[in-house]
């Protein structure tokens, strides 16, 4: 299977160790609200596995904490990811994984945009358009092959 890879040997980066939360913003106040923030969302997606490598998206620097923009008041999240190579045909799959994971992890009130980093991909516009067409995404998630692939990639992000 190794032969079939689009990007046979990617560069692997140190995964920055989990920044331990400075325990609940107000530990004693039961009613204090901890808004959903950048780190929380990053924690949801950092361990998603790359579709064709045994590494996590974080290790491949496909996503970084800085690439997550969130506005809890306005129920909005945008994740910008950087495919490992310019023509990575897996870009859509990666994007799909990100969208699905967030769809399953965030409150329903949230609107999510997923996009590839400007200039990081040959068919940037096309990929973005597809990832943000919810009809396409919905259809994709009814496709057993795709769903298996996605679930496999998401698995490590749940433990």
């Amino acid at each position: 299977m190794v032969s079939g890879l689009i990007n046979a040997n990617p560069v692997i980066y140190e995964r920055k160790e989990r920044r331990a939360r400075t325990t609940p913003s107000a530990p004693h106040d039961e009613y204090a609200v901890e808004p959903i923030d950048q780190q929380e969302i990053f924690d949801h997606i950092r361990d998603i596995k790359d579709p064709e490598h045994p590494y996590s998206l974080e290790e491949l620097k496909v996503i970084t904490e800085e690439a997550v923009e969130v506005d809890d008041q306005r129920n909005y999240v945008r994740v910008t990811f950087t495919p490992t190579v310019e023509h990575c045909s897996m870009a859509t799959i990666i994007g799909l994984c990100l969208r699905v994971k967030l769809m399953r992890s965030l409150p329903l009130r949230y609107k999510v945009d997923i996009r590839v980093a400007p200039g990081s991909h040959a068919t940037e516009a096309a990929v973005n358009k597809q990832l943000n067409d919810k009809e396409r995404v919905a259809a994709a998630l009814e496709n057993p092959n795709l769903l298996d692939m996605v679930d496999e990639c998401l698995a490590p992000s749940y433990d």
Binding site: L108, K111, K129, D133, A139
Partner: protein
């Protein structure tokens, strides 16, 4: 002060509701208003108004025919037949036999997800479109037989919606390729051709076009898009009655800045009000603006309804009845029925 009053919130679907369609044969002559809704839960639900309580209840659930999401549904002009288009690449035809619905025929031919279905004015033709980039036209034959008349290939991408002209046998389709295409049968020999393509060059949309709707007169058309705009198009009426060739459509005006996420649905009421529903959870109503006669009739915002639903709004449809009643379908799995209080 006009307002859009929520009459009822209908629950039942267990997944997002994609679209809904009012039965045109209901809502007058004492026939209770009926509409059908379809959903990601693979089912279609039929809702009927109770004449005494004026509230709607689910009359029937059409399931175990489609194996995947049911994307859209359309009643035949007579109101006898219901066509449903599904991601399972088929289109099903249901007949209302004494209250309960039977699948009397399934149309196969598309390679993958069927996304929209529409009957022509006379109910003799049916159009479907799919991610396979093609639009199919079917003829309705006696005995619930449907035969493919023609396969229209012209869109470069996923076709999102097909819509027949309210009076003429002219078909309109809009697509992920940002264009609206107009199809007509040149010299009625099953030879359908694309007679016009409304794209960016003729100041058309700059992203996916999601829906099309016509005014009662059929001389105006409104389209909505992922580019966050609504566009109104117009043509000469007479050109059509005289049947003498096809009268092209041109861009009339663009309404921007009303929605800040994708606009999925737009629908024009007989009273000339068109409603739009979008991914920003809100509904907007527009009417022509008689004041500003500067250059042609333009349209002004009549009313805006924020947080109409908890999630994206996928479809808004005016009822055929006397009262100005609007129904909206949403990702939150509910359908809401609204009344416009002038």
């Amino acid at each position: 002060m006009t307002e859009l009053k929520e009459i009822q919130r209908l629950e039942g679907h267990t997944d997002r509701v994609w679209s809904l369609d009012w039965n045109p044969a209901t809502g007058h002559a004492g026939i209770p208003l009926v509409f059908a809704s379809c959903s990601g839960d693979k089912t279609v639900r039929i809702w009927e108004q109770n004449l005494s309580t004026r509230l709607w209840a689910c009359k029937a659930v059409l399931e175990e025919t489609h194996t995947r999401t049911v994307r859209s549904c359309a009643w035949s002009p007579s109101g006898k037949l219901l066509a449903t288009a599904s991601f399972d690449a088929t289109t099903a035809i249901w007949e209302n036999i004494g209250g309960d619905f039977e699948c009397v025929s399934t149309l196969e031919g598309h390679e993958n997800e069927v996304k929209s279905v529409c009957w022509n004015a006379s109910g003799t033709l049916l159009a479907t479109c799919s991610r396979d980039k093609s639009v199919w036209i079917w003829e309705v034959l006696p005995g619930n037989e449907f035969e493919c008349v023609s396969v229209l290939q012209g869109h470069a991408q996923d076709v999102k919606m097909v819509k027949w002209h309210p009076t003429e046998d002219i078909l309109f389709s809009c697509s992920y390729d940002n264009t609206v295409k107009v199809w007509a049968d040149e010299g009625d020999s099953d030879d359908w051709q694309c007679v016009q393509s409304l794209g960016e060059p003729n100041n058309g949309h700059t992203s996916t076009v999601w829906a099309i709707s016509f005014n009662a007169g059929g001389d105006k058309m409104v389209t909505c898009s992922d580019d966050l705009t609504l566009k109104v198009w117009e043509t000469e009426n007479k050109g059509m009655q005289s049947g003498g060739g096809f009268a092209p459509w041109r861009h009339l005006c663009t309404l921007t800045g009303y929605h800040d996420r994708t606009i999925f649905s737009v629908h024009w009421s007989r009273e000339g009000i068109f409603a739009s529903g979008a991914a920003d959870n809100s509904i907007r109503l527009f009417v022509d603006d008689n004041e500003s006669q500067v250059d042609g009739p333009l349209y002004k915002l009549l009313l805006k309804k924020e947080k109409a639903h908890d999630m994206d709004i996928n479809s808004v449809q005016w009822s055929p009845g006397e009262k100005p009643i609007l129904a909206s379908a949403s990702d939150d799995g509910t359908i809401k029925v609204w009344e416009l209080i002038p």
